[in-house]
C-alpha cells in the first residue's frame, strides 16, 4: 500500500538523541560522501577544487564559532585570533621539530583551546556585549603578541613558511591532493560536532544558552561548561588556522585580523545559529557568494559597462549585492539558511498539501 509520512514525530528519548532522525539520513550521508569524495574530484578541475578547499576550511572555523555562539550563547569576536594561535603553533612545530601534519593539527588545536580557556574567563562574569568586548580585546592582544614576539612569529616579517603536508612520503601540492587532505578533516569536524551537540555536553551548552540560571539549578556546572565551550570552539578555530596555514603555505597573522572574525560571525548568523548544517551553509555561502556575484557580473556586466570600468563596477557591485542578498535572505528567513532549507524540506514532505 502506498502511503506517506505526514511529519516527523519523536516518541522516545532515544529517538530524540539519534544521529540520523530518519532512515533516509543514512542514505543521504552516504550519497553526499560519494559526491564529495568520488564525483567532485573526478568532474572538477583545479580551480573548482580550490574553491571547495577554501570553503571546507571555512566550514571548520564556522562550526567552532557556532558551538560557542549558536549552542552556548557566548559571543566571541576573537575567533580569527585563535586561528592565528593554531597557525603559528603548527608552523613552529612543523619547522623546528619537523612534526608531521597529524601531530601539528591537534597541537595547533590544543594550543588554541588553552588560550581560548584563558580568554573565555571573562565569560564567567560578563555576558552579551560585554563579553564581545572582552573577546575583542583578546583579538588585539594576540595580534600584538604575534607582531612583537619574533620567537613565536619568526622574525621581522612575522611569518613562517609552512612545509607542505606529507602523507606516506607523498608531498601534497596540487589542489586535488590538498582536497583529500582538507576534506577528511572537515568531515571529522562535522561528525564530531553532530555528536557533540546531541550528547550530554551539547545539551548542557544549549541549557546555558537558553537560560543560564535555570541550567545551574538543574545541576549544570555553568562555569565549567562555559569554559569548555570556549575550549572546544577555540580548538576548532585552531585546527581551521592550521589548515589555512597548510593551504597558504605560510603562517602570517595578517591573514587572521579582525575583519576575518567578523566574516565568521557573518557565516554563522547567515547560516543559522545553533545548527551544524547552518555552519556549513553559512561558510559555503560567504565563500561562494562573492565568487558567484563576480562571475555573474563578468557575464552580464559586459552588456552594460565597457572596458576598463568593468573591473571597478564588478568590485563595487559585489559589495552591494553581497550586502543586499544577506539582507534578503535574513528577511526571508531570520533563522538563517538552515531554516530555509528546513522549510524547503517541510514543503516537499507534505506536498501537494499545504499542511
Amino acid at each position: 500500500m502506498f502511503h506517506r509520512e505526514s511529519g516527523y514525530y519523536k516518541t522516545t528519548y532515544k529517538a530524540d538523541m539519534a544521529l540520523f532522525r530518519l532512515p533516509i539520513g543514512k542514505v543521504a550521508i552516504g550519497a553526499i560522501a560519494v559526491i564529495f569524495f568520488v564525483i567532485f574530484p573526478l568532474i572538477f578541475d583545479e580551480y573548482y577544487l580550490s574553491i571547495v578547499n577554501i570553503a571546507a576550511i571555512a566550514v571548520i572555523g564556522a562550526l567552532g564559532l557556532n558551538i560557542l555562539l549558536g549552542y552556548t550563547g557566548q559571543i566571541s569576536i576573537g575567533h580569527a585570533a585563535f586561528m592565528s594561535v593554531g597557525a603559528y603553533t603548527a608552523a613552529n612545530m612543523a619547522v623546528h621539530f619537523d612534526w608531521p601534519f597529524w601531530l601539528t593539527v591537534p597541537a595547533g588545536g590544543c594550543m588554541a583551546a588553552l588560550i581560548g580557556v584563558f580568554v573565555g574567563m571573562p565569560s564567567l562574569r560578563v555576558k552579551g556585549l560585554y563579553l564581545a568586548i572582552a573577546t575583542l580585546a583578546a583579538q588585539f592582544i594576540i595580534e600584538w603578541v604575534l607582531n612583537h614576539t619574533p620567537v613565536i612569529s619568526g622574525g621581522i616579517q612575522a611569518s613562517i613558511p609552512m612545509p607542505r603536508p606529507v602523507i606516506f612520503g607523498e608531498t601534497l601540492e596540487t589542489q586535488a591532493e590538498l582536497y583529500f587532505f582538507i576534506l577528511p578533516v572537515t568531515a571529522v569536524a562535522i561528525i564530531a560536532t553532530l555528536n557533540l551537540v546531541r550528547s550530554r555536553i551539547g545539551r548542557a551548552f544549549i541549557a546555558i544558552r537558553d537560560q543560564d540560571i535555570a541550567a545551574e539549578i538543574i545541576g549544570i556546572n555553568v562555569y565549567r561548561y562555559k569554559l569548555l565551550a570556549f575550549a572546544i570552539s577555540s580548538f576548532y578555530a585552531g585546527v581551521c588556522g592550521v589548515m589555512y596555514t597548510y593551504y597558504f603555505g605560510i603562517a602570517n597573522y595578517e591573514a587572521f585580523q579582525l575583519p576575518i572574525s567578523i566574516d565568521y560571525l557573518a557565516m554563522v548568523i547567515i547560516g543559522g545559529l545553533g545548527s551544524v548544517l547552518g555552519s556549513i551553509f553559512g561558510a559555503v555561502f560567504v565563500t561562494l557568494l562573492p565568487i558567484a556575484i563576480r562571475t555573474f557580473m563578468e557575464t552580464v556586466g559586459v552588456f552594460f559597462v565597457d572596458g576598463v570600468y568593468l573591473a571597478q563596477v564588478i568590485a563595487q557591485m559585489r559589495l552591494i549585492l553581497f550586502g543586499g542578498l544577506i539582507i534578503l535572505f535574513l528577511v526571508v528567513e531570520p533563522d538563517g539558511l538552515a531554516k530555509l532549507w528546513q522549510n524547503i524540506r517541510n514543503y516537499f514532505r507534505i506536498w501537494p498539501f499545504s499542511y
Binding site: A255, V308, A311, L328
Partner: protein, 412 residues
C-alpha cells in the same frame, strides 16, 4: 512560499552564473591582475589598477604584442588571503602567463605556488625585500625598489640634505608597527653602524591615526636632524599635520613610497599644508609623460573624457609601471618564440630577465632585471611638494647598493 521561490530563484541564477567560466581564446595572451578596490587599501587600488588597464588598452590599440591582444583579468580580493588564493587559481585556469600580486600576505602565500606552477608573479611595493634574490625566488619579481632599497636610498638622501656629513647626526625612523613597517629596520641599523649616525625608531601602532607622542618626541626631545617616514593608509596625512603642529620643517623628512601619494597630501589638507615634504617614488609622479598623453589621445579618439583616476598620478603611474614591465616581458617572450602567442610562464620569466634600460620616456626608472636581481636595480626618485604638485629634486637614484645586494644575497 513566494519568498522561498524568490530566494531559490536568486540562488539558482547565481549558481548558474558561477559555472560560466571561460578560457583563453586563440591569439590572446592572458595576464592576471589582483586588486583591492574595496578593502583597506582601496585608496591605492582604485587608482593603481586603472593605470594598469589603460596601458594595456593603449598597447592593444597599437596592435598588441606582435599582433596578439593582451587580455587583463582583474579580480578584486578585498585584501583578504582566501579570495586572493581563489583569484590565483582562476588566473591559472584562464591560462595567465603573469600574475600581478597585490598585498604582502598574498605575495607570501602565492610564492610557493608560483614556483610549482612556473608562473611569474610581480609584487611591486609588496612582499619581502629578500624576494629580490632571483636565484632563490626564480618566479617572484618585486620589479620595483624594495623596502631595503628604499631605506638605503633614504639614508643616502638624508646624507645629501645634511650637507654630505651624516656622521653623528640624529636620524629618526617613524614607522607603522606591522611587518612591512619593520622590514627596513635591519638595513637602517647596518647603515647607522657603517656611517656612524644615531638612529632611533618610533613605532606607530595600527591603525596609525594617533601619533602625537611620537612626533613630539622626535621634534622636541630627540630633536632629529632628519626623519624617515614609513607609514601607510591614513598615517602619512596625520604625520604631516603632526610634524607641522610641532614646528618641525617638512623639508627635513622623506616619506617612503606608500606615504607619497596625492591622496596622502589631500588627507593632510591639501598641497598648501605639505609644502617642502619629500617623498620617494618608484615610478615617476606627475603627468608630464608622453605615454600619458598617448592614453589621453586614445580616450579622446574614442570620444570619451580622460579617466578621472589619472589625476592621482602617483598610484596611476605605478599601475602603468607594472603593466609596462609585464608587457615588455611578454614581448621578449613572444620574440623568443618567433612571434607565437603560445608562450609559457617560463618564457615570460626569461622575458623579465632580459629587460634592460626600459624607461618609457622617464616614467620608469632605468629598470634592469637579471637572473640574480629581480628588483630591477632598486631605483627610486625623490620628489618634493612644491606649489600644487610633486617636483623632482633628484634623478633616479639608489643608495648603498652594495649593502643592499649583500643583504639580499644573505637573505635576511
Amino acid at each position: 512560499m513566494r519568498h522561498l521561490k524568490v530566494g531559490l530563484l536568486t540562488a539558482s541564477v547565481l549558481a548558474a552564473a558561477a559555472l560560466q567560466v571561460g578560457t583563453a581564446s586563440a591569439g590572446e595572451i592572458v595576464v592576471g591582475l589582483q586588486c583591492d578596490r574595496t578593502g583597506p587599501t582601496q585608496t591605492v587600488g582604485t587608482f593603481l589598477c586603472p593605470g594598469y588597464h589603460d596601458y594595456v588598452k593603449l598597447k592593444n590599440s597599437q596592435g598588441g604584442i606582435n599582433g596578439h591582444t593582451v587580455r587583463v583579468m582583474e579580480i578584486d580580493h578585498e585584501y583578504k588571503v582566501p579570495p586572493g588564493m581563489e583569484a590565483y587559481q582562476r588566473f591559472k585556469k584562464e591560462g595567465a602567463v603573469i600574475v600581478a600580486i597585490y598585498g604582502t600576505p598574498h605575495t607570501q602565500a602565492l610564492t610557493p605556488l608560483l614556483h610549482e606552477d612556473k608562473i611569474p608573479g610581480t609584487s611591486p611595493g609588496f612582499g619581502s625585500a629578500a624576494a629580490a634574490n632571483g636565484t632563490k625566488f626564480p618566479y617572484l619579481f618585486p620589479i620595483a625598489a624594495t623596502y631595503w632599497s628604499q631605506g638605503a636610498a633614504a639614508v643616502a638622501f638624508a646624507k645629501e640634505k645634511l650637507g654630505g656629513v651624516i656622521k653623528g647626526k640624529k636620524i629618526a625612523y617613524i614607522y607603522y608597527d606591522n611587518p612591512a613597517g619593520r622590514e627596513p629596520i635591519p638595513i637602517l641599523h647596518k647603515l647607522a653602524k657603517m656611517e656612524d649616525f644615531e638612529l632611533k625608531e618610533f613605532a606607530i601602532p595600527p591603525p596609525g591615526v594617533e601619533m602625537k607622542v611620537q612626533v613630539q618626541d622626535i621634534a622636541r626631545r630627540y630633536r632629529a636632524d632628519f626623519v624617515i617616514n614609513h607609514t601607510f593608509g591614513k598615517a602619512p596625512s596625520v604625520s604631516i599635520n603632526e610634524f607641522t603642529r610641532n614646528g618641525y620643517p617638512l623639508s627635513k623628512m622623506v616619506g617612503f613610497v606608500w606615504a607619497a601619494g596625492e591622496s596622502n597630501i589631500m588627507g593632510a589638507g591639501g598641497w598648501d599644508k605639505a609644502q617642502g615634504y619629500y617623498v620617494m617614488q618608484f615610478a615617476g609622479a606627475g603627468s608630464d609623460y608622453k605615454v600619458l598623453d598617448e592614453i589621453k589621445a586614445l580616450y579622446k579618439s574614442e570620444g570619451k573624457s580622460t579617466p578621472k583616476e589619472m589625476a592621482s598620478t602617483v598610484y596611476y603611474n605605478r599601475g602603468l609601471l607594472t603593466a609596462a614591465i609585464h608587457l615588455k616581458a611578454i614581448e621578449n617572450a613572444v620574440k623568443a618564440k618567433g612571434g607565437s602567442d603560445k608562450i609559457s610562464g617560463t618564457d615570460v620569466k626569461n622575458g623579465f630577465e632580459q629587460i634592460s634600460d626600459f624607461t618609457l620616456g622617464g616614467i620608469l626608472p632605468p629598470v634592469k632585471i637579471t637572473k640574480e636581481d629581480h628588483e630591477g636595480g632598486g631605483w627610486v626618485r625623490i620628489f618634493q611638494v612644491k606649489g600644487q604638485g610633486f617636483v623632482p629634486v633628484t634623478d633616479w637614484m639608489r643608495g648603498y647598493r652594495d649593502v643592499v645586494t649583500k643583504m639580499v644575497q644573505e637573505g635576511h
